[in-house]
Symmetry: C2
Subunit: 413 residues, 2 copies
Amino acid sequence: MPLVLGAAVEQAQVLLALFIMIAAAKVMAEIFERMKQPAVVGEILAGVIIGPSVLGWVQPSEIIGIVAEIGVIFLLFMVGLETKPQSILRVGKKAFLVGTLGVILPFIAGYLIAMAWDGSFVEAMFIGAALVATSVGITARVLGGLGLLDKRTSKIILGAAVIDDILGLIILSIVSAVSTGKVNYVELGKTALLAIGFTALVATIGSHAMKRLAPRVAVLKLDKPFFNTGLILCLGLSVASMYVGVAAIIGAFLAGMALAEPTEENHGMHKLTSGVTEFLVPFFLVNIGMQLNLAVFKEWEVVALAVVITFFACITKFIGCGLGAWGLSRREMAQVGVGMIPRGEVGIVVAQIGLGLAVITDKFFAAVLFMAVATTLIAPPLIKHFFAEDTNKDGISDPFEEHDVSEEFTRIG
Amino acid sequence: MPLVLGAAVEQAQVLLALFIMIAAAKVMAEIFERMKQPAVVGEILAGVIIGPSVLGWVQPSEIIGIVAEIGVIFLLFMVGLETKPQSILRVGKKAFLVGTLGVILPFIAGYLIAMAWDGSFVEAMFIGAALVATSVGITARVLGGLGLLDKRTSKIILGAAVIDDILGLIILSIVSAVSTGKVNYVELGKTALLAIGFTALVATIGSHAMKRLAPRVAVLKLDKPFFNTGLILCLGLSVASMYVGVAAIIGAFLAGMALAEPTEENHGMHKLTSGVTEFLVPFFLVNIGMQLNLAVFKEWEVVALAVVITFFACITKFIGCGLGAWGLSRREMAQVGVGMIPRGEVGIVVAQIGLGLAVITDKFFAAVLFMAVATTLIAPPLIKHFFAEDTNKDGISDPFEEHDVSEEFTRIG
């Protein structure tokens, strides 16, 4: 349409912001890969640089938040596509233990730090809750890049992330209820049951249903009907998850998992999906970096609080989740431990809710924000380190080069 | 993130809207394909059905508008990827004539209808301007689906759409200036020169620059560096176009065209891009349908006006553009004529600007809106009809099945 006028001005501004985000992300990813560092770290730092902290070229906004959310939804859908349901069920008990211990320890740590730092009871509860939920997207991206999603510890991490999210929902429901002074145990019970029921139902029935439907589409041997089914299922279950109360990415992951077996041989499906993720995931990563505003760290107290919270956020997840994986080798326990460290957008959202309810002070909000971004930046190199010897042939020389099934396929073809 | 609270409520609502849009679009596309009708028509009708006209499940919004815009940007990028610059230059003169005549006739028709219908002078100018600009996305989608983007008439249509958009910009600039009473000829000249200069520069230099750069990336034989370059170029030129004053899709088309030769053998690039278009283009089509609100057609006068404007919008484009292609066979002249009929989002935006400047009355706005959606629905069957005998082997049985280079490739592989 001609002329930048009216609504088009806003559209041009949003497109400009998206352009800056993707260009910065891709350039930083390239630089980090050449330095043999995780690309995700480069992409998150790109957000810190172009965001309010440094250059101030792009500000977080609702629209950017939505695009970022769609990005992480497709990231988890892609991970789901490479995850067969049985492989998760096989590590189910371990994943449950990892998820549970990985929730309890950080919650206690967050609570105690906040109490020690003159926080109120409700505030301390919120800080604890903010330390709970793992942002599995970051770990999934790194493990996918290494081609290690097939490993047993990867399955445990993915399974634990689902448990983690459900427990996080329950804790946040309790904490929110306590903060408003209206604890309704029946409501809480309903919320918990709905979340657990929905997840269990989709996880168990989803794959069977898809296996029944798939052969009809498979006869055509076309990629697009598969892909279209995937798109609808992915967005549908993401939305359903949100309304049930769990994260949208849980639904996307379950949708991908339901299609993992039917589309196992369908490389076109993977390729089409990776077109979407290549485009949209950078917005998710850059958006995390953009949340950080270093200006709030003028006061030393805030810096100290942020460092303490970040330290304990890392150490309690590492120990809690590592212990949950008891029985595996120490190396594998460490792999699970570091895989659960990133908090990313999840911790931020919890803190924002606390801020919205006016129960969290600015210094705690700033510290949690820092923790969320910092854990996300710290984890990838650690994951790379602890998984290093397990990388496949391609992985050694440049482990963070995108792993892509159909890439190899194309070369052979 | 757990719990639908605060900002998450809005996110959940937007995701729900996007889910409804894509599910409705894909289902309607499937139904229309089985009835041997153009899928685009199904997708636009899906928008009419779920939009304010019928069910009211989804309302047009700024966020949906942005997603739709990104969709049509990638659609034109994809079309550009299949269009070599020389092939457009070869039909340059003809495209120029088609574009110019296809602008003059509809403008005059719109102006005269509005004057005859008791419109003011400024209003008549706006109605004329709203009838000018072709929405090439619709035609590109249909021709791409038929696998006919290689045809001479397709090249003429694409070239003419670029001319059309630049002339549309100039006309809209003049009309807007007249309506505010501040006609500044120097400014108008600058706008026109900038638009023409930018387009000419990118069109001529873009491909050469990419051909120089491409071999460096080509050594790696990887799809993703190519695709990432494409993403940055596509969004970058789209944004630049908007700031220059021409449509974002012109920039996206030029970006694709610049990469058409370097990526000719790169099927992965096409596949990755088509993953994005499969996901995002439906939002563009559904959004067009959603703009229509049938409730305004309670008065017979509005209905009559809408029908008259739509009729002349079709006939003047058909004759104007057909005559511009003088020298070709009558069949080809008709192909060019019908290819330029759809107005889609462009006419709507012009009318919205007029409404924003308070120079267009509601009845004219409703009529133009109807015209924009109606021409978009009328054109695809006509295009199908006039191109029918030219469709390739795949095309005859089910011509609107997605044409996809890498689809065949995958089957061979």
